[in-house]
C-alpha cells in the first residue's frame, strides 16, 4: 500500500534542548570553519585536487544529520565535506585525506570527492552525479531486510534531478516502503547551469508526489526548519512509514569547485540576497532572541571549533604519505584461505 503525498509540517520551532542546540551550533560552525580553512590552504597552494565547498549549505547537513543515529546511513555527493562532518567523521582524518596522507579516512586513495567513514554510517561521497541515491536506497533495503530500524539518507543536488536514476529510486522506495529520506539540496545551480533552465518545475519536491512519496519544501538556510522536516521523515521511516522527499532551498557561497568564479553565471545581488540569510547568523539571532544559549557559550564553541580545525591541520601535516606500493592495494578484499 502506498501512502498518498502529504506535506510535512514545516513550521520551524526551535528545539528546547540546549544539548541539541549546542550540537547544531558546533557542527554548523565546524563545517564553515573547516571549509574556510580548506579555502586558505588551497589559496596558499598547500593543498591541491578537486574540491567542492559546502559553505552556505551547512544547515542542510546539520539539520538532517542532527536527527540521525550513529548507525543510520548517509550517501553523499561530490560536495560532501558537510555531510561527513555532520555525520560525525573525524575532521583530522578528513583533513589528512585532503592532504593525501596515509592517516586520511580513505588512506589517501579517495580525496575530497570520496571521503567515507563507514564506522559512523557515512557510506561515501561520490563524484558521479546521482549515483549516491541508489546506494542509499540499497542501504535502506538492507536495513529493512535485516530488520534493524536504521534509516538511510540520500543527499543530492538539484542537478541530480536531471538524472533518471533519482526517479527510479523514488519509485522503488515507494513500492517497497523503504526507510529512505531523499534530501535534495537545491542550491540553484549545477555547475554554471541554473535550475530554472535545466528543470521544468520550480519546486523540485513536487516531483515526488506522483510517486506517492510524501514531500516537503524547506528553507534550507534555516537549520530548525530542516531539523523539523528531518524529524518527521526519520520518525516515519523508522516506524515502517516509508520514504520522504525533502527539498532544501539553499545556496553555495563559493563557485562550483575551488577556483570557479561564480560571477561568470550569477549576479552579486543574488549572492548578497542569500548571504543575507546566512544559516549561522540566523541561528545566533534566534537563540539570542529566545535567551537559549548565552553569547559567551557561542563564543566558547566557536573557539573550540577553531582549535579543532587547527589541530586537524597539524595532524595532517605531521602524518606520513602513503607508501607508493599502495597504488594497487585495496583493489580486492584479501581472500580467506578456506575457499
Amino acid at each position: 500500500m502506498a501512502t498518498s503525498p502529504v506535506e510535512l509540517p514545516t513550521q520551524a520551532s526551535i528545539p528546547d534542548d540546549p544539548a541539541v542546540l549546542r550540537w547544531m551550533y558546533r557542527h554548523l560552525v565546524l563545517i564553515r570553519t573547516f571549509e574556510e580553512r580548506v579555502v586558505s590552504l588551497r589559496q596558499s597552494g598547500v593543498l591541491q585536487g578537486s574540491t567542492h565547498l559546502y559553505v552556505g549549505q551547512e544547515a542542510v547537513a546539520v539539520g538532517v544529520c542532527g536527527r540521525l543515529e550513529r548507525d543510520d546511513y548517509v550517501a553523499s555527493t561530490h560536495r560532501g565535506h558537510g555531510h561527513c562532518i555532520a555525520k560525525g567523521v573525524d575532521v583530522s582524518r578528513m583533513m589528512a585525506e585532503l592532504y593525501g596522507r596515509a592517516t586520511g579516512t580513505n588512506r589517501g586513495k579517495g580525496g575530497s570527492m570520496h571521503i567515507a567513514d563507514t564506522s559512523v554510517g557515512m557510506l561515501g561521497a561520490t563524484g558521479i552525479v546521482g549515483s549516491g541515491t541508489p546506494v542509499a536506497l540499497g542501504a535502506a533495503l538492507s536495513a529493512k531486510l535485516r530488520r534493524t530500524q536504521q534509516v538511510a539518507v540520500a543527499f543530492f543536488g538539484d542537478g541530480a534531478m536531471g538524472q533518471g536514476i533519482v526517479y527510479e529510486c523514488l519509485n522503488m522506495a515507494a513500492i517497497w516502503q523503504l526507510p529512505l529520506i531523499f534530501v535534495c539540496e537545491n542550491n540553484r545551480y549545477a555547475e554554471s547551469t541554473p535550475v530554472e533552465y535545466a528543470l521544468s518545475t520550480r519546486d523540485l519536491a513536487t516531483r515526488a508526489g506522483p510517486f506517492n512519496v510524501p514531500f516537503a519544501i524547506i528553507d534550507g538556510q534555516d537549520v530548525f526548519a530542516v531539523y523539523a522536516a528531518a524529524d518527521a521523515a526519520v520518525e516515519r521511516a523508522r516506524h515502517g512509514g516509508g520514504p520522504t522527499f525533502i527539498e532544501c532551498k539553499t545556496y553555495r557561497y563559493y563557485g562550483h569547485f575551488f577556483g570557479d568564479d561564480p560571477l561568470r553565471y550569477r549576479t552579486r545581488e543574488e549572492e548578497e540576497h542569500y548571504r543575507g540569510r546566512d544559516c549561522i547568523r540566523r541561528f545566533e539571532q534566534a537563540v539570542a532572541g529566545q535567551g537559549l544559549l548565552a553569547q559567551a557559550e557561542l563564543e566558547r564553541i566557536g573557539a573550540e571549533v577553531r582549535e579543532t580545525v587547527e589541530q586537524a591541520v597539524r595532524f595532517a601535516e605531521a602524518s606520513p604519505l602513503p607508501d607508493p606500493g599502495e597504488v594497487d592495494t585495496d583493489v580486492y578484499t584479501p581472500q580467506r584461505l578456506e575457499v
Binding site: V46, L47, Q48, G49, S50, E97, L98, Y99, G100, R101, G104, N106, G108, K109, G110, G111, S112, M113, H114, T126, G127, I128, V129, G130, S131, G159, A160, M161, G162, Q163, G164, I165, A190, E191, S192, T193, P194, E196, Y197, A198, L199, R264, Y265, R266, T267, L321, P322, P324, G325, E326, V327, D328, V331
Partner: protein, 349 residues
C-alpha cells in the same frame, strides 16, 4: 615564416568552429558547453564555454540551437545524439569525464555502435562523443588529483566495441586534425582529450584539416627499439627516447593516435625494423590497448623480435587521489627506459 602556435583546447575549439561553419548539420550538446543558459536576460550566455573551455565562444557565433546546454542526464542526451545522427544531423555530444561512461554506455554501445550492423547496414550514426581522460598528475606531497571517478583513461572499453571508433590525440596539432576527422566520419567516434595536454601548445595550421582515423604517426625514427605511445604517453616516450639516446640507443616512437581502428601496418613495420617493442599506455593493463598491440606483434611479427615485448601501463587499480600514489600509477619516462633495459636484458632467453 614560423607556424602559428596554438593551445590544445584552442585547437579543439577551432576544429569545432570550422566544422560548424562548414556543415550546418553539426551541433554540440552537453553539460555547460555554453553555461549559464537561460540567463541571457542578465547578459550571461557563455559563462563556462565548456568545463575545459573547448566550446567557448561557439554559442555567440552559432546560437543556442547549435550549442545546447543539457541537464545532467548523459544516458538521455547521448541517446538523443544517436537519434539525431540517425535522422540527418551530425551531433557532437560531450561526456565530461570518460568515467561517466558508466551512466551512458547503453547509448554508446548498444545504440550508437551496434545500430548499423543490427539494422543490416541501413543506417550510419555520425556521432562524436567528446570526452576527457587521464590523471592530472599532481606533485606530492600535499593533496592530489581528481581520484578514481575523474581520472581514468579506459579507452580500451571503446576499442573493444565493434562499430565504434576511438581516437586519442597527443598534441594540439593532432587534436584539431582528429576532432575534425571525427566530426566528418560517418560512424560513431569517441574523441579523448587528455586533461594534462589541454594547456600544451604546438604549431597548428589555421585552415581546416582532417587526420585519417586509423592511422598512426611516426614521430621519431630509430633502428634499435620501437616505443608505441598513446595520447599523453607519446610525450613520455619521446622523453624516454632522449634518455636512451644518451646510452647510444636509437629509438623509434610511434604515436598511435587511433586506438580503434588500429594501424597494424605502421606498428608491424616499425617492429620488424627495430626488432624490439615497448608499448606505453596510461590505461589499466588488463585487456588494454597496450596488450592488444603486444598480441598483434606476437601474432604477426614474432620471428622478427630480438627481445620480449614489454608494456608500461597504469596499475590494475582505479586511479588514486594522493599525489604520491598517482605518480606511482602513471607511466613515466624512467619506467619506459627501465622497460627497454629489461627487454634487452631478457634477450635470447
Amino acid at each position: 615564416m614560423a607556424g602559428r602556435q596554438l593551445q590544445f583546447s584552442r585547437a579543439e575549439n577551432e576544429a569545432l568552429r570550422q566544422e560548424m561553419e562548414r556543415d550546418a548539420r553539426v551541433f554540440i550538446m552537453g553539460e555547460d558547453v555554453a553555461g549559464g543558459a537561460g540567463r541571457a536576460a542578465l547578459g550571461i550566455i557563455d559563462a563556462w564555454g565548456g568545463p575545459m573551455g573547448a566550446t567557448k565562444g561557439l554559442i555567440q557565433q552559432f546560437g543556442a540551437e547549435r550549442v545546447i546546454d543539457t541537464p545532467i542526464c548523459e544516458m538521455s542526451f547521448i541517446g538523443a545524439g544517436v537519434g539525431a545522427a540517425l535522422t540527418g544531423m551530425r551531433p557532437v555530444v560531450e561526456l565530461l569525464f570518460v568515467n561517466f561512461v558508466g551512466v551512458a554506455l547503453d547509448a554508446i554501445m548498444n545504440q550508437a555502435a551496434y545500430l548499423r550492423y543490427m539494422l543490416g547496414g541501413q543506417v550510419s550514426v555520425p556521432l562524436v562523443v567528446k570526452t576527457a581522460i587521464g590523471a592530472v598528475g599532481m606533485a606530492p606531497p600535499n593533496g592530489g588529483g581528481s581520484a578514481a571517478q575523474h581520472s581514468g583513461s579506459i579507452y580500451s572499453i571503446f576499442a573493444h566495441i565493434p562499430g565504434l571508433k576511438c581516437v586519442v590525440p597527443s598534441d594540439a596539432y593532432t587534436a584539431k586534425g582528429l576532432l575534425t576527422a571525427a566530426i566528418r566520419d560517418d560512424d560513431p567516434v569517441v574523441y579523448c582529450t587528455h586533461r594534462r595536454l589541454l594547456t600544451t601548445s604546438c604549431e597548428v595550421p589555421q585552415e581546416p584539416y582532417a587526420l585519417p582515423i586509423g592511422k598512426a604517426r611516426t614521430v621519431r625514427r630509430g633502428r634499435d627499439v620501437t616505443l608505441v605511445g598513446i595520447g599523453r604517453m607519446t610525450g613520455v616516450c619521446l622523453e624516454a627516447a632522449d634518455q636512451l639516446a644518451g646510452e647510444g640507443l636509437q629509438t623509434e616512437v610511434v604515436d598511435l593516435l587511433s586506438v580503434s581502428p588500429l594501424d597494424e601496418d605502421t606498428v608491424l613495420e616499425a617492429v620488424r625494423r627495430t626488432r624490439r617493442l615497448v608499448v606505453v599506455d596510461e590505461d589499466e593493463p588488463r585487456c588494454s590497448v597496450a596488450r592488444d598491440v603486444a598480441a598483434l606483434v606476437a601474432d604477426r611479427a614474432i620471428d622478427y623480435l630480438d627481445a620480449p615485448v614489454k608494456t608500461v601501463t597504469g596499475a590494475h587499480a582505479p586511479v588514486p587521489f594522493s599525489g604520491v600514489l598517482e605518480v606511482a600509477f602513471v607511466p613515466t619516462p624512467e619506467r619506459v627506459v627501465a622497460a627497454v633495459h629489461a627487454a634487452m636484458r631478457d634477450e635470447g632467453r
